[in-house]
């Protein structure tokens, strides 16, 4: 246990150093800043009642960019070590392949959460500048998103062990955004065709759901806080589903020649 914690902490520290030295983190942050600032400046031209609009842009940008960042950071955790041939000296250490996958997942989760919190701080700072209020549900938005990022990092790392990094990124993003689209299709499905509605419901329940972890819309419209047991249930969903994803990755990686 102590050894696994030490491995996670070693990978997290180096991943964090890499994150702050890479340009993509700053590029994404600047893009988000421009989007939210752009939406907020409408107020300077005399347009009133923009609170909901600016919050919508801010939460959409924070959610979108932190998801993209998490997927990119997770997809390169192991594949980059393979392409740089540095996976060999890592696996030559007295650690197991499972510990390597778990350590890389922990690193991806921590840096993705750090990036998400940094983007959120930028977003909240801008909302404060534009005098747009944020309600208490924002706290639950932060917590749930961090729980969702754990699941997302697990999914992307598992996919990166089966596919190329580019394919893993594409598939992860399709699953992230496609699962919520599937939910909307189910709602819109014609009730006169029970078989197709049934099929869509089955597909919806089988699909992994990143949209469960997004309280962006509720935060935008300043809903009251959701019950804490829902967060607890989603924490269990993320832990079980994320662990299943990592195990799926391990099944592939444990005896894979490298």
């Amino acid at each position: 246990m102590t050894q696994t914690v030490r491995i996670c902490s070693a990978f997290t520290r180096t991943s964090f150093l890499e994150m702050i030295r890479r340009k993509d983190f700053y590029a994404i942050g600047i893009l988000m800043l421009v989007m939210v600032a752009g939406a907020g400046t409408f107020g300077f031209f005399g347009v009133r009642g923009l609170s909901v609009f600016v919050r919508d842009v801010a939460f959409t940008a924070i959610g979108l960019f932190s998801t993209i960042f998490a997927v990119m950071a997770s997809a390169r955790q192991i594949t980059e070590e393979i392409s740089r041939k540095t996976l060999y000296p890592l696996l030559a250490r007295p650690i197991t392949r499972w510990q390597l996958i778990f350590g890389k997942w922990a690193a991806a989760w921590v840096i993705s959460s750090a990036a998400f919190l940094a983007f959120s701080v930028i977003g909240i700072a801008l909302l404060t500048v534009f005098s747009v209020p944020v309600t208490a549900i924002f706290l639950q938005y932060l917590i749930l998103k961090i729980i969702g990022l754990a699941w997302l990092c697990g999914l992307t790392i598992a996919l990166s062990l089966y596919a190329t990094p580019a394919a893993a990124i594409t598939l992860s993003l399709i699953i992230c955004f496609g699962s919520s689209a599937c939910g909307r299709i189910v709602l819109l499905a014609n009730a006169d065709h029970p078989m197709s509605t049934f099929g869509l419901n089955v597909a919806y329940s089988l699909l992994p759901h990143y949209d469960y972890f997004d309280l962006g819309a509720k935060a935008t419209y300043a809903w009251p806080m959701i019950p804490w047991w829902v967060i607890g249930a989603l924490l269990a969903y993320s832990a079980l589903h994320g662990a299943a994803m990592l195990l799926l990755g391990y099944v592939r990686f444990r005896s894979q020649p490298i």
Partner: protein
């Protein structure tokens, strides 16, 4: 005591819709503890595949590989081995010091001993002055020196080095010889592959030559010196003598 024991090793690479490709077949050899053994062969002979099997990176299709009596790739075996891969590009966003810290943490080296050991090794391989520069600012030779330093981190009883002198200039090769000779005095077993036969001649007690995935020569360096002028001459004659389609090549 045997540091490495390879018994009837076959390494195969699976390919979609075709037969597996055998990189090594029926290979058997052993390395005694304390020996320095050079592992030679032309490109594609099966050196790296054998080394990967010794490290446990590639599971054998047949046969058995053990390191100090432990199964290759097991945690017990890994505790005793230091490994240098062929031309690894260490993270360009980390410094040599941070890279060494990562490997030390994974090896379980901690406390004040860690810092002392890392600085000592970086000094030994001659890149201590560059310890805070990013890896992307280092030359290929310096990255190779960093690779040697990380291989020595856990004070290994066995060093497995793949293309050890790759990217090193003459000064780097001299420094490498010094480090390996110091390791020999410490009693470390060294098993390395190299295309630099002069290097091999200066360092090794014994050589193994692999060709088309099979062991063709296992000989002491002194005996080779008695029979031919240079190891290069010996190597070329051995390898060319084992080329089956000689006429085809000439054509």
């Amino acid at each position: 005591m045997l540091a490495i024991s390879v018994d009837n090793l076959t390494v195969e690479y699976r390919r979609a819709f075709s037969k597996p490709l055998a990189a090594v077949s029926g290979l058997s050899f052993s390395v005694e503890a304390g020996e320095i053994v050079g592992f030679l062969g032309v490109n594609g002979a099966g050196k790296t595949s054998t080394i990967k099997a010794v490290m446990g990176f590639t599971p054998p299709a047949e046969g058995r590989v053990s390191v100090f009596g432990f199964e290759a790739g097991s945690i017990q075996a890994k505790r005793k081995v230091g490994f240098l891969p062929e031309t690894a590009m260490y993270s360009p966003y980390l410094t040599p010091l941070e890279t060494m810290n990562l490997y030390a943490d994974l090896h379980g080296i901690s406390g004040p001993e860690k810092k002392v050991r890392i600085i000592e090794l970086l000094e030994r391989v001659g890149i201590c002055e560059k310890r805070n520069a990013l890896n992307k600012q280092l030359s290929k030779g310096m990255l190779q020196r960093l690779g040697i330093a990380q291989a020595l981190l856990g004070s290994p009883e066995l060093l497995v080095l793949d293309e050890v002198s790759s990217g090193l200039d003459p000064i780097g090769r001299r420094d490498l010889r010094k480090v390996l000779n110091e390791e020999r005095e410490r009693g470390t077993t060294v098993f390395f592959s190299s295309h630099n036969l002069g290097e091999v001649e200066l360092l090794c007690d014994r050589i193994l030559i692999i060709h088309k995935g099979k062991l063709v020569v296992e000989n002491k360096i002194e005996e080779i010196r008695d029979s031919v002028d240079s190891l290069e001459e010996y190597f070329v004659s051995v390898v060319e003598g084992h080329f089956e389609p000689t006429l085809e090549r000439a054509a």
